[in-house]
Structure formats: C-alpha cells, structure tokens
C-alpha cells in the first residue's frame, strides 16, 4: 500500500514511497541531468548532498525549484523537468559553476571523459557572462606519487569526501573553508603525501571534473621505450584486460587479453608479461605462509597469530600501516604480485637475458593508483633502482594505445611472452573481490589435504556483498574465511580482530569496490555499477577458460622454484618476495 502516484512531464507513474523525483523520472525514461549526485547501486554508496543544484525541477505548489536527486515524491505530485524556468535555472547555475572553473579543457587530464564538460555541452553553455571580472578560487596543486589534486577544478560535489570518509573511513579529505573559498582536501591543505591517504584512488574514480586525476607516467614510458639501451618489460594486472576494451567503445565485460598483448607489443615493449604469473607466485608464498601459520595454530602454538590477512592491495597495506600499526605482524608478509613480478624480472629474468638490472625497465599496467605509490616505496628498491620503474593505469594505457594510432578493436589476439607470461586461472581472479582468497584456497586445500579438488569454483566466496563469510572444509578442518572490499568494511573486520572477537582464519581485503576491477585507475564507471559486475564476470570467464586453474600447477612457477628460488618461504623467497610493514600512524611527540 506504500505506492505513490505522481505525474512527471505529463506522464503518470506509480512508485514506492520514499522514491526520489530523480529515480521516479528515470523509471519513465526521463534522465534528469545530475552532477554531484552519485548512486553506486549494489554497493550501498550514495552521494546526495543536494549541492550542485543542476538537477532542479519544477514542482507544482512549491515556491522554489526542487532538487530532484534528493526530493521524495508525494501523492499527486506534479513535476515538470523541462520548463523554461527549469532550463534557465540549470543553465545559469552551470554558468556559475563554470565561472569558477579553469577553462584549460584542451590539456586537462579529464578532457573527453569529464562529467562537467559533458554537462556544459548538454546545457548549451556558450559563454560565461562576466567571466572577465569574475574572481576564481585558487589553490596550489598537489602532486603526490599517485594522485594529482588541482582544487581550482573542484566543484564541491563532495563525492571524493564521501568515498574517503564514509566508504573508506580513511578521512584524508574533508571540506574546508567556507563559502566561495570552500573546497575538499586534506587537513591544513597539506599534501596528500603528508596525510593518511592510502592512494586507493577512489576519489579519482568518482571525481566529475579534473580536480582529482592520476599522476601520469606515460611520458616516462615513452622515454623508456625510445631508449635503445634499455630493455623494457611490461606486466599487466588481471583487472586491466576486463576493462580496457571500454576505452575503445567495447561493451563492459569484454575480455581483451590477446588484443592488449598485441597492442603492447606494437608499442614496442620488448617482453609482454603478465602480472598473473606473479599472482600465482603470490599464492605459492602466501598459501604456504597461511598453511604454516594454520598448522602451527591448530597445533596449539600460542605465538602464531591468526587470521592471516592478504597483502596484495597497496591501499589496504597503507591503511593498516596508518590506522592499525599495532597489528602490522598479522598480514601476510608476501609482497603484492606487482612487486613480486618486479623482483623476479630484475633478478631471475634479467639474468636469463643477460641484462644488467639498471638496463631493464619494468612497466606495470595496473587498474590501480596506489600501485604507483607502492612501486616507489623504498623497500622495493635496490640501490635506488626500483623493482618496478613505472606503474601506469588502465586509462593511461588506453591513452598510449590511442596515441600510437592503434585501434584495439581490430588488433589480432596474441599471446604473452614466456616465461613470466604464463599464468593459471587462479592468477586471473586476483582482479576481483574474493579472487585472491579463492586462488589461495585452491592451492592451500590441495597442498594441505593432498587431495584434488572436485570443484574449483567457490561460489560462496564470490559476489559483491560488502563483507562475506564462508567456511571451507579442509578435509575435516573447517577454515573460516572473511572477505571485505572497501576499507570501511575492512575496518570492521580489523576492529573485531583487535577486540579478539574474530572467527576467521584468513581474510582477504581489497580497498576498492568490487576489488581491482573497480580500481582507481580503471576506465571511469560514471556511477554505473553494472560495469563493475560485467568486469567481474569477465574475470571469472577468463579463469574458467584457462587450461590450468591452480597456481601450484603453473609449470613456469614450478620451474622458477626449481631454477631459482628453491621452495616457497625459502631464504631467497624471503629476500625477494616478502616484505615488512611500518608504523605510519600520526604520532604526537613531545618537543
């Protein structure tokens, strides 16, 4: 009985009580333009400050215009979404917004992919009256290792603030100042590098303008590729292949693995490898560590701490370094696949091709911005030379491909190079929430029980629910597994551990919604979460089609151990594939 009848643009509709005008109109196929409003359906993320006022509509009987994103419908409401009063108001408000926005669209990182630009086009803004004497708010630009903040372009939509605080509970960003001077940024307008930012990049992923963008490394990559004295190796993260096609007009969820390889080869990379290989390696190390801790724990060793937490996600690593430093000995010490790849490439592989470390350049293609930060962490450098030289995002790769005049749509499918290009299906699913732990379970189960798994698809570990719990029977030993995506959800699990109330043996955490497929470096989803789901499905599809689906069966991994590392958790592995964590909490010191 909670239905409400109303009229929008002379069309009648019946909707649930509590529906907004915006959503009701959408059901009628009327798309009211919105700017600050963002609804990530299925992820429980909604931003509706009602601040931009672009989505205003005329409601009969109401004095002023109503923001459709945040006004609930009522019985008998009569709405007009395109009266001249509305159109004039929208355009005037847009002129206000643009009057305080730089006009350097030609060189803006967001150009062509900018919600604000699209809106200006849609609303037919052709001039900004009074621009010549309009004061503009200005701030200094912040260049962090991963993210560039140019607050001159901030329109106070508050999406980044919401992601950083409500979803990630990082709290690096907040609205500051008042009125015309108001913007969103870290405390004291400090640089992100000095804040508790984890570089998850979700602020960038939702920013509707060029205020938050990635630090672009494509120029560095071009320079490396043009240097005849360098051998350039590239690795591609699993989530990239499930999203790159979108930048070339393909349907979300299109897998472009082969075309991507072929594009990279044409760009001039000497070796096109796969981060998935390193993901398999991660499973070998992390899975062994898990089994080791588990065995000791079940054997009554009180020194051993459980649950073990995954450590592939660099934003997540930063998060616990900032907020839970007292628990820094709980996560697995295994480095992330990106870093394992770099370490192996610059030792094992460099030796194989008889190239000196400093003449080998490792580029990674990542769905992630935190990877840029991770690549330049001191502990991943040898004599100042980083294991991974440049980490570029899926979006940056798309730019490079376009710049090279290549059309991904018509490129042939090609295969990765060997040996670091071979991977199992387990490596592929690292790209989505639940994937790392599923890959680990596949290996840990078989190594622990000595039995072959009947079924490799662990459906109970999959899905988009914020926090998921599952128990896997390890031949009589029930192993409790927790999964969280989003750091706010991770925080809940960590608080439980801190309080001694955690029931889990192992927990997988990824910082971004949906995992890496929803990373801050991916093609922008523009609030359409069905895109994320399609990417996740593509990842699982790729896994299902792989001849080898378990990390410990990857022949090149086995060969790597045989030729170079010895066995998982060996002295050499420890040196190259593991790391330590640091206390990065904000400390008050007595001066």
């Amino acid at each position: 009985m909670n239905k409400i009848k109303l009229t929008i643009d002379n069309k009648q509709i019946e909707v649930e009580k509590g529906t907004t005008i915006y959503k009701a109109a959408k059901e009628l196929g009327i798309y009211i333009p919105v700017l600050c409003y963002m609804n990530l359906e299925g992820l429980n993320i909604e931003n509706k400050p009602g601040g931009c006022r672009i989505c205003v509509v005329e409601v009969e009987g109401r004095n002023n215009l109503a923001p459709s994103c945040s006004t609930d419908v009522w019985e008998g409401m009569v709405v007009n979404t395109h009266s001249m009063r509305v159109i004039n108001a929208r355009r005037t408000v847009m002129e206000f917004i643009l009057s305080d926005h730089p006009k350097d669209c030609l060189t803006c990182a967001k150009s062509g992919n900018c919600d604000l630009q699209d809106m200006a086009v849609k609303l037919g803004v052709r001039e900004i009256p009074g621009q010549e004497y309009a004061e503009m708010s200005t701030y200094k630009i912040d260049f962090s290792p991963s993210i560039i903040r140019d607050l001159d372009k901030c329109i106070m939509c508050r999406r980044c603030e919401m992601m950083c605080n409500d979803f990630q509970t990082v709290g690096a960003l907040s609205a500051f100042n008042r009125g015309f001077e108001a913007a969103v940024g870290p405390a004291f307008e400090m640089e992100l590098e000095d804040s508790t930012c984890t570089y998850c990049g979700q602020c960038v992923a939702v920013c509707p303008t060029g205020a938050l963008t990635e630090k672009d490394h494509t120029r560095d990559v071009i320079n490396a590729l043009s240097d005849p004295t360098k051998k350039v190796v590239v690795q591609t993260a699993p989530a990239v292949r499930a999203a790159l096609g979108e930048e070339f007009g393909m349907e979300p969820g299109t897998l472009v693995t082969g075309k991507m390889v072929s594009a990279l080869r044409r760009l001039g990379f000497d070796y096109v490898f796969d981060t998935d290989f390193a993901a398999d390696l991660t499973i070998m190390e992390e899975g062994t560590e898990l089994l080791d801790r588990l065995t000791k724990y079940l054997g009554g060793d009180k020194e051993v701490k459980l649950p073990i937490l995954t450590s592939c996600c660099p934003a997540w690593v930063s998060f616990f370094e900032h907020y839970f430093p007292e628990m820094k000995d709980i996560p697995s010490t295994a480095r992330s696949p990106q870093q394992m790849f770099g370490a192996i490439a610059k030792t094992y592989f460099a030796d194989k091709i008889s190239t000196k470390r400093e003449d080998l350049v490792v580029v990674s293609i990542m769905p992630c911005l935190a990877k840029k930060y991770e690549a330049q962490r001191d502990e991943f450098k040898v004599d100042g030379n980083p294991d991974v030289d440049f980490s570029i995002s899926t979006r940056e790769l798309a730019h490079l491909i376009k710049e090279a005049n290549l059309d991904l749509n018509i490129l042939p499918d090609e295969d990765f190079d060997k040996p670091l290009g071979e991977s199992s299906g387990a490596g592929v699913i690292f790209g989505t929430t639940g994937g790392v732990i599923e890959a680990a379970v596949r290996t840990a189960y078989e190594l622990h029980t000595g039995k072959k798994l009947e079924k490799l698809d662990f459906e109970q570990l999959r899905g988009f629910e914020a926090i998921r719990k599952a128990t896997v029977d390890f031949d009589g030993t029930p192993i409790n597994i927790g999964i969280a995506h989003g750091l706010g959800h991770a925080r809940k699990l960590l608080d439980e551990i801190k309080a001694g109330k955690s029931e889990f043996h192992a927990i997988e955490i990824m910082a971004c919604p949906g995992g890496c497929i929803g990373g801050g470096g991916q093609p922008l989803h523009h609030s359409d979460t069905s895109i994320l789901k399609a990417r996740a499905e593509a990842i699982y599809r790729e896994d299902a089609g792989k001849p080898i689906r378990k990390s410990h069966e990857n022949p090149y991994i086995l060969k790597l151990y045989e030729e170079f590392l010895g066995k998982p958790m060996s002295e050499k592995s420890h040196h190259l594939l593991h790391t330590a964590y640091f206390d990065k909490s904000r400390k008050i010191e007595i001066s």
């Binding site: 605080n165 990082v170 709290g171 690096a172 960003l173 907040s174 609205a175 500051f176 100042n177 008042r178 940024g185 870290p186 405390a187 004291f188 590098e193 000095d194 804040s195 508790t196 370094e321 962490r377 001191d378 502990e379 593991h578 790391t579 330590a580 640091f582 206390d583 990065k584 909490s585 904000r586 400390k587 008050i588 010191e589 007595i590 001066s591």
Partner: protein
C-alpha cells in the same frame, strides 16, 4: 628487511600543552560530538588553534584531523593565527555600516598598515571584523580587547591607537 622509518608523520607539541588539551578533551568525555566545545576551550586557553593543536584534538576525540580542520576553517570564531597583543575588532553589522564603519575600518588598515585578519609585525595589533556586538546604539563600534569604543569616526582612530602606544 631492515626496519627503517618510512615517511611517518610526527606532530610535535610541548608536554604541558599536550596535557592541557587532553584535559580539555576529557572534560567533554572525548566525545566527537563535542568537537566545537573542545575547540572553544582550547582556543580560549591557547589564543589560537595551530595545526599541531588540531592534530592532538583530532587524536583525542578520534576524529579525522581533516575534519577538525574542516570545522576550524568553517567557523569565523576560530583562528589558526595568533592574535595581536591588542586585538582590534571593528563591528561591521548593518547599524555600524550605515553609520560609516567602513571608513573607520579603512582608517585602521591605513594606520596599522595591515589587512583584516592580519597582525602587525611587532605582534601588537591585529585587525578583525565582527558582526554586530549588539551595541547598535553606539554605532559605529570598535572593540580593542574587551574595551568598547562607541561612535568612532575615522578621525578618532588615531586617538584610540595612541591609548595603546605606550602599553
């Protein structure tokens, strides 16, 4: 892997300041909802709210320091800069405006050679505007510290400043 200090963030404060802030926060049960009350008390004690003090408040109340900064910069009563020994406030409420407060303000700016919100180099005077002290009958009104001056004219500015010259 050797333990080395990453770019960890350290905030330095004097011990007695730290204890004072902790005391203030505790008096409000360290509730995040009491942030504004805490900031009032803290500013009352320190005269202003520099970054390191905000950091401590943030930690004590378990609020992100960015949020504390967001609150401090929202409210005009809070300041991150120390005020002069003799803070001068010019009422720019409507009644004072209508009776020429702007001319008085300009004269103070000229005489002190500072802008609104600034403090003279010798730390003696700072200049601020405030909205209606409620002494509209005396408009335009100027406050120096707690002392109120009514019906101030631009010509009277020099006289007021002279009072504090020797102090």
């Amino acid at each position: 892997m050797e333990e080395k200090s990453m770019s960890d963030i350290k905030v330095k404060v004097k011990e007695k300041d730290l204890i004072k802030i902790q005391e203030i926060c505790k008096s409000f049960d360290n509730k995040p909802g009491e942030l504004i009350n805490v900031l009032h008390k803290t500013q009352e004690h320190f005269g202003y709210l520099p970054a390191e003090i905000q950091e401590v408040v943030a930690q004590e109340l378990d609020v992100a320091v960015a949020k504390v900064y967001g609150v401090v910069t929202f409210y005009s009563f809070f300041t991150m800069l120390p005020k002069g020994k003799f803070p001068i406030s010019i009422c720019t409420g409507t009644a004072c405006y209508v009776r020429g407060a702007d001319n008085v303000l300009q004269e103070f700016k000229r005489q002190l050679n500072i802008e609104v919100g600034e403090t003279t180099d010798d730390g003696k005077y700072s200049l601020n505007c405030l909205r209606c002290v409620g002494a509209c009958g005396l408009a335009p009104v100027v406050l120096v510290g707690d002392k109120t001056y009514g019906r101030v004219s631009p010509e009277g500015v020099k006289e007021i400043l002279e009072e504090y010259q020797e102090k």
